[in-house]
């Protein structure tokens, strides 16, 4: 049970990453590799501030805005300096590696004694139910695990809701249109450059928020923690799309959250069955490759079969 609970919590935390990746990859069709750096940036900024005894909520918010800044830089490189989108992301990601080391001062920052959002929600839960384990559907659950799960769930639900509502505003529809048909929104007076920069800022803000929560949950920030994260996020989005089978924004947002959750659970179970953790990133990459190629190949096969008949 602890295993599933932990996996679900990480899944929900990384759902924020998936939402950020959805924004850049799916809305703008922009392969934003900045994610690998900004998730660590969020973790690094929040961890450093927590050690300076900042209130956890403020430290988390600062992590979010650090990501916003990183995304803005990527957007500017692409929109203003006309640097290829992939390269813009790689440049910022590479720069962030050094910046993250500077922010943390060393390559790993433990948060053992600090007050974090997780310890705060734990004491909040303690106030509600009294000390000791919490009973969930008959299982006795460690209070800290339960608190972390609730915190992550509330955070993701809130962000998902805000994102859904945002996409129905004037600016939000313009953002979707900018990804769908930039020429059209330009002809209707929308600055595609500005919209893209704003979108990447929000995307990386969410990804940094994910990193910030992850650091607080696992109790440390590490300069290596971001490696391959963009592929994680993409895998979640793809699983989500397969789960819900719809392109409508609200449903896809829910799908990305479900995808992240499901992906983490599958990984946790596979690791339990003896999967070598070192193979995890390879398997993730192969999975994303298959998810990208198989639907197209199936369609081609089907149309060929149709013609043969």
């Amino acid at each position: 049970m602890t295993l599933l609970l932990g996996a679900s919590t990480v899944g929900l935390i990384l759902a924020l990453l998936a939402l950020g990746v959805y924004l850049s990859f799916r809305i703008f069709n922009f392969p934003d590799i900045t994610a690998d750096g900004s998730i660590t940036l969020g973790a690094a900024v929040t961890a450093s501030l927590l050690i300076l005894n900042w209130p956890p909520a403020l430290a988390t918010l600062a992590g979010f805005f650090a990501g916003v800044l990183a995304g803005t830089v990527t957007g500017l490189l692409n929109a203003k300096f006309r640097i290829n989108g992939l390269l813009s992301g790689i440049l910022v990601m590479t720069a962030l590696y050094s910046i993250n080391l500077h922010v943390m001062g060393k390559s790993n920052l433990p948060l053992l004694e600090e007050t974090t959002l997780v310890t705060q929600s734990e004491s909040f839960l303690g106030m509600l139910f009294g000390p000791g384990d919490v009973g969930v559907f008959g299982w006795e659950v460690n209070q800290r695990d339960a608190a972390a799960l609730c915190l992550a769930g509330a955070m993701v639900a809130g962000v998902g809701m805000i994102l859904y509502l945002f996409f129905r505003t004037e600016f939000g529809t313009a953002m979707r249109a900018a990804g769908d048909n930039p020429q059209m929104i330009r002809a209707l007076g929308g600055s595609v450059d500005f919209i893209l920069i704003f979108g990447l800022a929000v995307s990386n803000g969410l990804i940094a928020l994910s990193g910030s929560l992850l650091a607080q949950y696992q109790g440390f920030a590490d300069v290596q923690m971001g490696i391959g994260m963009v592929v994680w996020g993409l895998a979640s989005v793809i699983i989500g799309e397969a789960l819900v089978g719809s392109k409508s924004t609200g449903i896809v947002i829910t799908g990305a959250i479900m995808g992240s959750l499901l992906f983490r659970l599958i990984v946790a179970i596979a690791l339990r069955w003896g999967l070598d953790p070192n193979d995890l990133k390879l398997i993730t990459a192969v999975f994303v490759f298959l998810a990208l190629v198989v639907p197209g190949a199936l369609a081609a096969l089907r149309s060929r079969a149709g013609r043969a008949r």
């Binding site: 249109a177 769908d180 209707l188």
Partner: protein, 270 residues
């Protein structure tokens, strides 16, 4: 109203692919007039339209509309004054968004976009009413994605979107060229209605001699990046497709003559 003076544009300047797309083009357009632009392939007619729309920076000259010098304005800023319909029916609408969402964005052309609902309830009934004027039955499909519509339906919607807020200038870039004859007819009829009803100042590029003589009150014929003929008033009203074709034929014959003559002169003197 629209003042285009001395504009020039060279693509790939200084390379073997150098193209003089526009050479010193000037004209003024009065408010409410409807100018047709025709020309051979590569004559610069679409380039002229794009120069007014601001798709690329000009090498020389100025473009001003309604008293604003727009020469330095980026495309999206000019959109405040200009409505556009493109040649490609896929260009004017966002295919993965609904008809209602597309129209709602057109209802904010050139206006600031904030965090208000994109489709407030008050707009919804207006959307329905104005889509009904297209007579395509689309008013009951407002929540369908535009990508599910035909090219003709999309162009009709794009036209509606371009004229939703009355533009100071309407740009039509061969907007029926990619449609089947029946849809093209329908879109042209709609174009005519909207322009007449709203008294829109219009620039229309076309490849169809029929459209060129039937529509508009002024006609410009382009060739090699310059204005060759400017036909207005009674002369435009009298013009027939054969007259225009004759003028194209004249151009062609002159060029056929030119090339061998140039070659001969070259051989003799170089």
């Amino acid at each position: 109203m629209l003042e285009v003076s001395g504009i020039g544009k060279t693509f790939h300047a200084g390379t073997p692919n150098e193209v003089f797309a526009l050479r010193d083009v000037s004209f003024n357009l009065l408010e409410g007039s409807f100018l047709i632009i025709i020309g051979t392939n590569g004559s610069g007619k679409s380039t002229l339209l794009n120069a007014v729309a601001g798709t690329f920076p000009l090498d020389r000259g100025t473009v001003s509309l309604s008293g604003h010098d727009m020469t330095k304005w980026p495309e999206h800023r000019r959109a405040k004054l200009i409505g556009r319909v493109f040649q490609n029916p896929y260009s004017g609408t966002a295919p993965n968004m609904t008809i209602a969402e597309n129209l709602a964005m057109a209802a904010r052309r050139g206006l600031p976009r904030g965090l208000a609902w994109a489709i407030p309830r008050t707009l919804r009934s207006e959307l329905r009413d104005r889509v009904r004027t297209l007579n395509m039955g689309l008013e009951d499909r407002l929540d369908n994605d535009i990508g599910t519509l035909s090219g003709g339906q999309r162009q009709a919607l794009t036209l509606l979107m371009a004229s939703w807020l009355k533009p100071d200038l309407l740009l039509l870039d061969e907007h029926t060229a990619a449609l089947d004859p029946k849809s093209a007819d329908q879109v042209i009829r709609l174009t005519h209605e909207i322009i007449k009803r709203d008294k829109l100042t219009t620039l229309m590029v076309t490849h169809s001699m029929q459209q060129a003589v039937r529509l508009g009150d002024r006609l410009i014929m382009m060739h090699r990046g310059s204005i060759l003929h400017d036909i207005q008033g009674a002369e435009k009203a009298r013009a027939r497709p054969e007259d225009l074709l004759q003028r194209f034929e004249d151009v062609r014959r002159r060029e056929q003559l030119d090339a061998p003559v140039a070659e001969m002169l070259g051989k003799t003197y170089v």
